[in-house]
Subunit: 364 residues, 2 copies
DNA sequence: TGTGTTTACGTCAACGTTGACGTAGATGAG
DNA sequence: CTCATCTACGTCAACGTTGACGTAAACACA
């Protein structure tokens, strides 16, 4: 493989297509144009546009009118380039999938905090693809983003060391950084899964199955650890058949649950490691006619979990809180806080709604 | 009120806070630094960084090493400024609320289409606040965004005329532009609501209530029109008591439904004009013990609507499709398409799941 | 009235990059 | 060997804006 160039690679076809396409975007007028029309110097226009003092009311008015006539718009790029320590005003948010409620909720909370400081969010979905992560990070660095929020798809993060050293505020969310010491806001996934499993065991269950996502995903791994820790504490022997990982879709979850239920010694309770797995599991219980007969705790909460039949007992992560926390750290860093990395770990909670309190069948 | 300045207003406090804060972000190294270290001119560095020809292998290697040593990163801002018709690579997406499944799903689909062309999405929630819309649009214009996707909070859009004339690709989503002739992708809300209402009427209902959002929101208005059109077609007299608008929250929806059900001549079916209203309504039916006794059609579909008890009959809008369509138009425009505005209107569909097929009680 | 200060401008250079163009040396054709 | 051509660079200016600094006129004050 050829060593990649650092910036954007020259692309000949673009030029061709563009000139072929026809309507180039007409050039925006600049301060120079406004200055000419108003009969003043560019610098004076700059002053008026920026609301700085040093312009008489008359000149000010002339300039504003000229600007309006010419549809003048301030060019933030040029301004940022010229100004000393100017910020770009952009924060990158690289999340798992902007379309799912967890990422979307987080993004929303983050946006609210950052808006206070006039920062905009450039959002991207990584879909667990490490290469996309690298590409987008590189783009954001080239854009001189003021900060980065990362729910990493990659598992090693040394490549960010130089950016972090260069002073780029970097906050990991939901997953911890590896090979890099920076701020992070995570949820104690081990604790959550342990809570859930212990709750089921306390309800009398001995055969609790767990369905989980790709093991390479840190949160998935932590949840599995929590599940196993609860079994150990309850002195229940771990049955490898009851732990299914790499469940990636709703359909797969349905199949797995259906399969498990048809085994000779089926589980009497399920812990589902992710929303789409929970949904797939509920579907399986429905079609197997096992609603109300098999217990289920989902990880994590979602909008209508209380309206589903049965109402779902879940482990809840406070998305809003996570996003707010991330935003706050970012603002602090931008404000000059150069203290040691903060590692915020939030505790998830168990929300009891019914599905997790179904008792095991009377022993046979 | 003082006439606002055009660009960013000078903010003295920022400067103070910043210098007080301590660690200014250390300056990134530039091509000049790399050039010095490699013993070549800046222009040659530029060539190598951009993968252009005109540099010997030896020089190329020296430059790349120097760049690495100095943690050099291409400055896209400066590059864009200098290049001729260069694009900023940013598209603004101003949606209602990035946290809700409709906006989030749309954003996700849009992102996928735009990524193909190397465009990034700057996302923002408007929360039905026209002023915020203006502010963010102005910011994006100053950033020289390559395009704008707008689910407007404002009801007049003349203020965008100049930007549109200046060649800024502009696509309205979900709501039509007013006072501006530009591309849009909307859903036929009137048709959707009519379908829903007609479906309930066909099931034997004569007293169908509708709960709707703020009347100033276009989609809400259209849905009300659809509801009324269906009544007219069925020759059912419109009862103003059965139409409640400006229902803004889940709790409010619950209260309204509860209240309607306690009236002397209660509705036997409900059409809920928005997701949170649907959820609130289901809650009301639950606590009133009317599940399975009162019919309900929701507008629109959401992730778990089929798992709720009763499974919800809904009007579905294909979010993914909407987002893709918007993205495609944007790409076409960026590719030079200067044809007349496109007005894509998608048809929603009725998804039958049970709640909408509950018959009215036998007449008393 | 003279002198210092303020106000309202203007000039110039620089931010980091790249297009246009120049040039010295290498290469090739005849 | 000559002259045209090509290659690998370099120089310069410009993109749109703003900081630093200059200056002429107005103003303040003793």
């Amino acid at each position: 493989m050829v060593k990649a160039s650092i910036g954007n690679t020259a692309d000949m076809t673009t030029t061709l297509t563009y000139s072929g396409g026809g309507n180039e975007r007409p050039a925006r007028s600049t301060m120079k144009d406004v200055a000419r029309l108003a009969g003043v110097s560019v610098k004076t226009v700059s002053r008026v546009v920026n609301g700085e003092p040093g312009a008489s009311a008359a000149v000010r008015e002339r300039i504003l009118q000229a600007a309006e006539r010419l549809d003048y718009r301030h060019n933030l790029g040029a301004s940022t380039l010229r100004r000393k320590g100017a910020r770009s005003g952009i924060v990158g948010a690289l999340l798992q999938d902007i379309g799912n409620s967890f990422s979307a909720g987080l993004l929303r909370a983050l946006e609210d905090v950052l808006r206070e400081d006039g920062l905009s969010v450039l959002a991207a979905s990584l879909d667990e693809e490490p290469e996309r992560e690298r590409g987008i990070v590189s783009d954001l660095v080239a854009r001189r983003a003021d900060g980065l929020v990362l729910m990493p798809a990659s598992d090693r993060h040394e490549y960010l060391l130089s950016e972090h050293r260069a002073g780029l505020p970097l906050v990991f969310v939901d997953r911890r950084p590896h090979g890099l010491d920076c701020d992070s806001v995570t949820v104690d996934n081990l604790l959550g899964a342990k809570l859930a499993t212990a709750h089921l065991i306390a309800g009398g269950h001995r055969r609790v199955a767990m369905l989980s996502d790709l093991q390479q995903i840190e949160t998935a791994k932590d949840r599995i650890d929590g599940y196993r820790a609860a079994l150990v504490e309850a002195r229940i022997e771990f049955d490898p058949d009851l732990l299914v990982h790499s469940v990636r879709s709703e359909e797969e979850a349905t199949r797995v649950v259906t399969d498990l239920l048809s085994r000779p010694d089926p589980p009497t309770a399920f812990l589902t490691g992710r929303n789409i797995i929970t949904v797939g599991a509920v579907r399986a219980l429905r079609s197997a006619g096992m609603i109300g007969k098999v217990a289920l705790v989902g990880y994590d909460d979602f909008p209508l979990a209380d309206l589903v039949e049965p109402a779902l007992t879940v482990i809840r992560q406070d998305v809003r809180r996570i996003g707010t926390e991330v935003g706050q750290i970012l603002l602090d860093r931008l404000g000059g806080d150069s203290g040691p990395p903060r590692r915020v770990v939030l505790e998830p909670s168990l929300v009891i709604r019914g599905s997790g309190e179904i008792p095991p069948p009377v022993a046979g």
